[in-house]
Symmetry: C2
Subunit: 200 residues, 2 copies
């Protein structure tokens, strides 16, 4: 829809609409916010977008965000290089790092196997994972994919790929979230929490 | 939260978080999308943001978006210059224009009176509205503010300001949305639809 025939506005709405989770109406609202904000903000935002692409790249080894050819995690000598945590997306690394519970390396798959969405095993960074496991003396691969149908299937697929390579393959636990009330938790999660129960 | 210590990423997340309705997690996801997209997209988006501020401004008369000192609606000689439709925000003009039902001019208030949010009458473009009504030979002011508590209060406030100025002051109808089912419509809306009933 051409809005009032203002090209600059239509163009920004088009570009914003391509962002994930941003529909046309939200893009309109964001564009109008930019329009009404101080010039400084628009300049800062434009520059930040431009600089992110200019100053960063994906890590050659694990596909995390990096300022050079390797990311800060791969370069960190205080981390355990014998552990690889496999995640779907870079944002998952942020979530895991925030928990302060894991001190190994990562490997970003770039998605999960999802034939309906046209994502097959060869579209993911799986060969690179196998190469790392073979060449880097890895003792454990911890799979931390989202517990969706596709995530579960991908974890099974990866565990088959890794079988026979003489290493521990683990996955993060599924269960009742901390702080939740059982009566509000969905039945699949409760079922999983019970079948995965452990001794105290 | 410093994420992996990548300045360019943190800066973009900071700037994106300032957009309305974009929280920190969404900003992270958008920034990662920009990071993973082709360079061309980031450049296009940055340029579109920058150009919007460079090529547009607010209309001197009605505070709509404009490419010059007046917006395309104020400049359009085919529109009825004796009618002013008062709206809260520029996006509301888009919504009304899309309905193709109104062919007069507009006046963007820039908000509604909301003491809790610190927005008082003097923060809105109300004086400019009164000036227009007095100087432009206006026959009707149609108030199209959102039917919230603040919107209703602001409409009452404006109608008092305009009383005695010898013009028709109207407001858009509230009632049951077209295509809705009565059983799913909230009680306040149904009550309003009944008290505003009209003869057939």
């Amino acid at each position: 829809m051409q809005l009032l025939g203002i090209d600059a506005l239509d163009r920004l709405i088009d570009e914003l609409s391509r962002l994930p989770g941003i529909g046309r109406k939200t893009a309109q609202r964001l564009a109008i916010f930019v329009l009404k904000s101080e010039s400084q903000y628009a300049e800062n935002l434009a520059e930040a977008i431009y600089n992110l692409k200019k100053e960063t790249q994906l890590c050659d080894k694990c596909f995390n965000i990096a300022e050079g050819s390797l990311c800060s995690i791969c370069l960190d000598t205080h981390r355990d290089p014998s552990k690889i945590c496999v995640v779907e997306d870079i944002v998952d690394i942020f979530a895991i790092e925030a928990s302060n519970e894991y001190k190994g390396l990562y490997h970003v798959l770039g998605g999960v196997i999802s034939p309906l969405a046209g994502v097959m095993a060869e579209n993911l960074h799986l060969n690179e994972l196998i190469d790392r496991v073979k060449n880097e003396n890895i003792a454990e691969v911890l799979m931390a994919l989202n517990p969706s149908t596709e995530g579960e299937a991908t974890m099974i697929y990866i565990s088959k790929l890794l079988s026979g390579l003489n290493l521990k393959v683990t996955r993060i636990a599924s269960g009742v979230p901390i702080g939740s009330h059982l009566e509000y938790v969905d039945t699949v999660t409760i079922g999983r929490a019970i079948s995965s129960r452990r001794e105290l």
